[in-house]
Symmetry: C2
């Protein structure tokens, strides 16, 4: 087990490196931190830390930089979550309160996260499967063409066209609309399939085909939209890392283009707490110099989607984690209110 002071040395190294972006040496450490020991002692501690794999030197005769394992220890044991200041909290709340619809909420959230963390922010739209149906609407566009609109409790609206096998009268339409709503309104999307299963039987034979088609489209909407949408912001913050260009900017930009990759990154977050994936802990190769801080958020106690930031492993973990957690909380509140 590492002694108390050695942990303190690791903390100092991480803090300095995050600040200066340069390998930190023993002498500089003792000057900038009140460790109460001489550089030589720190050197011994550093050698020990290096043996354990917490720090490394980019080349002989240079300072040390933390390894992924070092950051991991730092995040788990040495760093707390730095809470935001009161003015920051107020600013978040009032900024999010101004949102007019779901798109706006997500858009504002992503901008907020990017600005607070000065990193790339990713926000997942609230999931359909976990949220409930507020209303299903059916409109007649043409004699044999309908439009199906699904409205969720998170304010999301999905619509699909339905081509009917046979013309469908206005009265049948009203009937179907009413029955559909009485069955599924307020229910979870995952419960919908069995709730509507026997619905076609109660209609005239002529209409059964159309009803079945409508239901099929409804269920399809449910499934398709499980592949969630994302909103991304703050990519301009990537330019802050101009030096290690190929290590960070390129792979991140490429990953951002791939929804699948991003969803997988966010998906690793557990529902309950905050997740921090450091460097190689991210399955996706190319994001090996990148860390992801993510957390679930939701309108009730339950998480309906996730949000997070992507940045270089050399990031301010306490501050970033604080910002991510705070933003997630406030978005949850906003969603619950609307």
């Amino acid at each position: 087990m590492l002694s108390e002071r050695r942990l303190e040395v690791l903390r100092a190294i991480v803090q300095d490196y995050v600040g200066t972006e340069e390998p930190v040496g023993s002498k500089a450490l003792t000057e900038r931190h009140k460790l109460g020991v001489s550089p030589a002692t720190v050197r011994n501690d550093m050698a020990a830390l290096e043996d354990e794999g917490f720090i490394a030197q980019p080349h002989t005769s240079a300072g040390r930089i933390p390894t992924d394992k070092g950051y991991r220890l730092f995040v788990d044991k040495l760093a707390g979550v730095k809470p935001l200041s009161a003015p920051e909290r107020r600013a978040i709340q009032s900024f999010l309160d101004e949102a007019v619809d779901l798109d706006d909420v997500v858009g504002r959230t992503v901008r907020l996260l990017a600005q607070l963390t000065r990193q790339v922010a990713v926000v997942q739209y609230p999931s359909l499967t976990r949220s409930t149906v507020r209303h299903v609407e059916l409109l007649s566009l043409a004699p044999a063409r309908l439009m199906l609109v699904v409205i969720t409790d998170t304010g999301r609206v999905e619509q699909r066209h339905v081509d009917c096998p046979a013309p469908f009268g206005e009265s049948s339409l009203a009937d179907l609309r009413a029955r559909l709503n009485s069955r599924v309104a307020g229910r979870r999307f995952s419960d919908v399939p069995q709730l509507v299963q026997d619905l076609p039987e109660s209609f005239d034979r002529d209409d059964q085909g159309t009803v079945a088609t409508v239901l099929a489209t409804l269920l399809e909407t449910l499934v398709e939209e499980t592949e969630e949408r994302l909103m991304i912001g703050g990519t301009a913050n990537l330019t802050r890392f101009g030096h290690d260009f190929p290590l960070v900017i390129r792979p991140v930009l490429e990953a951002l283009e791939e929804q699948v990759v991003l969803l997988k990154l966010l998906g690793e977050a557990t529902d309950s707490g905050m997740t921090v994936r450091i460097g190689h802990e991210n399955a996706h190769e190319g994001l090996n110099s990148t860390s992801v801080v993510s957390v679930g958020y939701g309108s009730g106690g339950e998480a309906v989607a996730k949000l997070g930031v992507v940045g270089p492993t050399r990031m301010d973990y306490p501050g970033t984690m604080g910002a991510v957690r705070a933003v997630a909380r406030y978005v949850g509140q906003i969603l619950a209110e609307s």
Copy 2:
């Protein structure tokens, strides 16, 4: 006026520079192009072109590169629009045909554009003011709370909550819904205000307040959404220009974050034809090493929104213009069909 051959030299310089990304000299030019004259002659022509401001040398003893003015002449007089190949056209069409809703259409369009041009693509959502209303839907969420849903002919759906000053009965709701639709369905958004102006008068005094509130929200939706939404893609293509990092990547990423800036860039496109803004022709400073190729697209003959790509001034103009034009056409078709 410049002689025929000098224009030919300019064309050769632009083509070579776009290909190699390096200043091009007189000797290399005669080797790679069949100009039928010696390097010395080309040198004289180059000197003349430089006097006129069409090309410049980055430093004394280096080759020449085109200036913005040179690219402008190239685009206007020397370069055609390179049509896409038949397989490319088929690929575009089938890829766009698979889209299920408007978001999907826009998303696929942006990915397509980015891939074809290997540059950053920007697609504006179809505008509400120029498109027509397909349907207005009113739902009751609570006794004094309604949801207003507006569906346009481009498949776009907007929804807003409405808090009523007084409870609003189901029959009044059905009545308002029916009257609203009979007046505005199929009409342009810009015509809506005067079409609904006298609607409150025909309702019971108790309901007039609510009707007025609903109408106000409807008109507000119309106005608010005139500040269009955009979708962006292909930012990873920026990494192809790793060398002149600060000149291209940073400002473009920053501009992409600012919807206002982007809309202004696209907005400069005229409705009719394709617009190419080269370097300093873009009002926004910082985009001085960047060109924007944009064009309007629409479901009918008329443009309802714009799309385009952003890239370095050193781009393949004929190819880019061909791709942009083709994609705009096919998106227009898809919108018309749906």
